[in-house]
Amino acid sequence: MSEPLIRAHHLVKKFGDFTAVDGIDVEVQPGEAFGFLGPNGAGKSSTMRMISCVSKPTDGTLRIFGLDPVTDGPKIRARIGVVPQLDTLDTELSVQENLWIYGRFFDLSRAECRRRTTELLDFAQLTERAESVVDDLSGGMKRRLSIARSLINEPSLLLLDEPTTGLDPQARHVLWDRLYRLKQQGVTLVLTTHYMDEAEQLCDRLVVMDQGRIVAEGSPRSLIEQYATREVLELRFAAGTNDQFADQLHGLGSRQEALPDRVLVYADDGEAALQEVHQRGMRPESALVRRASLEDVFLLLTGRTLAD
């Protein structure tokens, strides 16, 4: 196997007394799409900022392209693309000016900046908006511009921190499509997200983080197979009675989980479980059988939902 692009061993980040990242081990191989999945405050962004060479690890070792971010930050940053959680675009400048200027930070010649800008505008589907001031763009367009800008140095590793947070569903799908194309071109993607559908769509492999630690690792499919059942039965009872019914559901499927708004029954055959519910004389207000998702993995691992 080739040398990993990212190698973190016992990586720790503390802010005063607070431990944001609590000794994680991660390896990302070239060409992979790798995700950090977890709720807000799990330590994903702190990890990402260490990998982007803007935040110094408190403890442990971190190597990117085999280099140490603390001593070789500029060298590493010359070869990576970073899409931060908050856009850092020049809102008063035009779309293409943003790209030109960013290219100049990497010391590309003006001619090269222009050439790549033309390509990237096309890639980000912003060619028609090249001369628009960034302020006038929609959220999804700004995000695409941020991604285009991060690609100006033709990085082999692209880091995306919560790339689609705050975007409407359609804008998210457009963005996923663009990221999928990058992946096909061989760019290594590393992203953080608290959307399980995003992780399922984009990631070959991911780690689930909770309270600064990695609680599970694998492909989306293998994580679901390992931690969840094939199907999930979602039951809704009259408001405030979920707990009371949870007792009656005892022994159904392999596990039951009472949430504030619904009860989940983990079972390989959801329909059979639902029949059993009816046989036991319960009348839920609604019942739904679905496939298990990463959300369930997270819930089963931590006892909490990703939205918590």
């Binding site: 060479c53 110094k56 010359a78 931060p84 020049d90 809102t91 008063e92 000016e97 200027i101 010391d107």
Partner: protein, 263 residues
């Protein structure tokens, strides 16, 4: 192999320039109109009063009041420009638009940002000063080759206000500090910094206080150039002092910015 790399600071200055291209007409106009208004008000209004007053020309070193005030105007213009451009814009690049955070993930570093900002201020001050100097060159009373080095001195003073104020702005959580800088540093210096009348007119304590910031040193040197009485050793001393302000400000600003951008 690739051509020689552009120094990081100049890449940052290039960014400022691109942003400025959209606004330069407005900016140039205001940084030109304001000193011209002062020149008319003080030079012509106050000047006619001063010049009529017998004995005043000896206090002013044997020149007319307008000629006396000109270098003061050039240098104070650079001072306000260097100060203003190093307050809200710095905070905006850290907190609002976050441009510096965008630079932080490129190969550039905090040092490049600070030096790029300083270069930018030098350029802005020089352009603003040159605009005023060109207007002054139209009148026989203020026309002098000394205007050219005076503009350069003004640019240096602009930077000597920019880097220390940048060091403060980088660490400021709120923009409240900026009103304080204006009221207790820039405006008092404008009035009591030796730009519009000799410091010798003020109480000794005030004179000493006025000599601590870089303004007075720049004004003295610029005035030497425009009036044609250059004391070379003193000039060297004043310029060294102004440079120390620049360097000290740049060092502190770089250290603080590095801590902000790379926690």
């Amino acid at each position: 192999m690739a051509a020689l790399a552009t120094p990081g600071a100049f890449r940052v200055t290039g960014w400022y320039l691109t942003a400025f291209r959209r606004l330069w007409k407005m900016n140039l106009l205001s940084s030109f109109v304001q000193p011209m208004l002062y020149l008319l008000g003080l030079g012509v209004g106050v000047g006619s009063l001063v010049d009529r007053n017998t004995g005043s020309t000896s206090t002013l070193g044997g020149v007319s009041y307008v000629a006396y005030v000109v270098p003061g105007l050039l240098v104070t213009t650079a001072m306000s420009l260097g100060a203003m451009e190093s307050m809200w814009p710095i905070m905006g690049n850290l907190k609002w638009q976050r441009g510096y955070h965008g630079i932080a993930v490129t190969p550039l570093e905090a040092r490049d940002i600070v030096l790029g900002h300083a270069t930018w201020i030098a350029f802005r001050s020089a352009v603003a000063g040159a605009a005023v100097a060109i207007a002054l060159a139209l009148f026989p009373d203020t026309r002098s080759w000394g205007l050219i080095p005076a503009v350069a001195v003004a640019a240096l003073v602009g930077v000597a206000f920019a880097t220390p104020i940048m060091a403060i702005s980088v660490n400021s959580e709120y923009d409240g500090a900026f009103a304080g800088i204006q009221r207790f540093y820039i405006i008092p210096l404008f009035l009591f910094g030796g730009a519009f009348y000799p410091l010798s007119q003020l109480p000794t304590v005030v004179q000493w206080m006025a000599k601590i910031p870089p303004l007075w040193h720049g004004v003295v040197v610029a005035r030497g150039f425009t009036t044609g009485h250059v004391a070379w050793w003193a000039t060297l001393g004043h310029l060294t002092y102004v440079s120390i302000w620049i360097a000290a400000g740049a060092i502190v600003a770089t250290r603080r910015l590095r801590r902000k951008l790379y926690p």
